[in-house]
Amino acid sequence: MCWAVPARVIEINDLIAKVDFGGGTVREILAVTPEELSVGDYVLVHAGTAITKLSEQEFLESFSYYRDIAVQLEVDAGVSKRKAEREVDRSLKDLLGDRIRG
């Protein structure tokens, strides 16, 4: 029931947004996001309502959490913390290039 899917904003008129889910599906939905929406933004849509704006920055921030966990898993497997951090950071850099700090 609480499923939500991403869509791109193609028109915005106060509370009502027109969004494109891809594959030719376009719908008029309610926009209930604290952030101001503009055409081209990506939103998460549930039951005909945009419940949050998706941003690349927030997506990238997820990786700092993934990093901590990946490092911990390596440490639990007997790798030294410094080596684990170096290896995890290298794979993250391969994956994300310069889009992530540190």
């Binding site: 939905i29 209930v32 604290p34 039951a47 005909g48 309502t49 927030e58 959490y65 966990i69």
Partner: protein
Amino acid sequence: MDRIRIMNFCGTHEWTTTHYGIRSLLPRNVDMISGPGCPVCVTPANYVDICIRLALEGMRVYSYGDAFRLPNTTAVSNARSLEEAKALGGDVKVVYSFLDAIKDAREYGKDCVFLGIGFETTTPSYSEPLAHDMVPDNLYFLSALRLTPPAASFALEKVGGVDGIIAPGHVSVITGASAWAPIAEKFKTPAVVSGFEPLDLLISVAGVLNQISRGEHKVEIEYRRAVGWEGNSLARASIAKVFEEADAAWRGIGVIPASGLEPRKKYASHDAKLRFGIRDPTKKTWTEDLPEGCRCGEVTLGLIKPTDCPLFLVACTADKPYGPCMVSSEGTCAVWARYGGGGLADKVAAETEVKR
């Protein structure tokens, strides 16, 4: 610690866990328990009764597809669900959103009712139009809205000995991850707010296990691309403006204190319960509202697995659901029936020697 039990509170998490065979990838001593996470499954039977009756009397009833097939306890005029009521000539319309119902009701012009199911994720889709006076006078809202944290707390108490929580991602988009802090504290249980991809869940389980090994019980956010600590301030403000907390009945479970939302007095003119004289049960007056023999209440709370119910895949199947947990595509029974629960996944895992 012999066994580690991690509970989820979201039908979509259960779907991902089962569909992708996440359980078969975890160490044997880690259990994933499905907790209350399906609003359709817990919608009281008397709301379905009332909507069937209204539809057969000629009033238009709007519902989401999930609630359309929700079974009744005793047939009302030969109809056991809204789907059957429609087949018998009742005026039932399945809609994609409350907004679509508003548009339709405006054209229709006569009295009609919306069966308003949902958790926190869905609530803003109702509160925003009500708060902005977008709902026509002839459309009545029947609130079956339920809140996740009180039910999670109730289930954790009943099940006991749960070591970790996978907190629902899209509920938390609205409430913020902070909603889980009192629960993590009360039960001394680590909680990770998770996304819905298989990798999201695996990372969240790893996050819970990391906290357990460190002896922590914090709330962490894995689903950072959508969830913040405080949630959606705009949605929360409109929910608080339109609705107030109330004790609420959960199908097959009973009344859980402060676990539902009802329209405030200001919105009484849209309240279907006032318009049609619908009275909610209290703790004292509540009676069992599952079909005979159905154990959905225990499945929903995480007390038993679907395979523990004698009706599962015998008298209750995805094609012919008998109990509410088999109806919604995200009810635990429906998910297990379609994707094989642990059994099939374990077999696949054994064949590929993932576990050995």
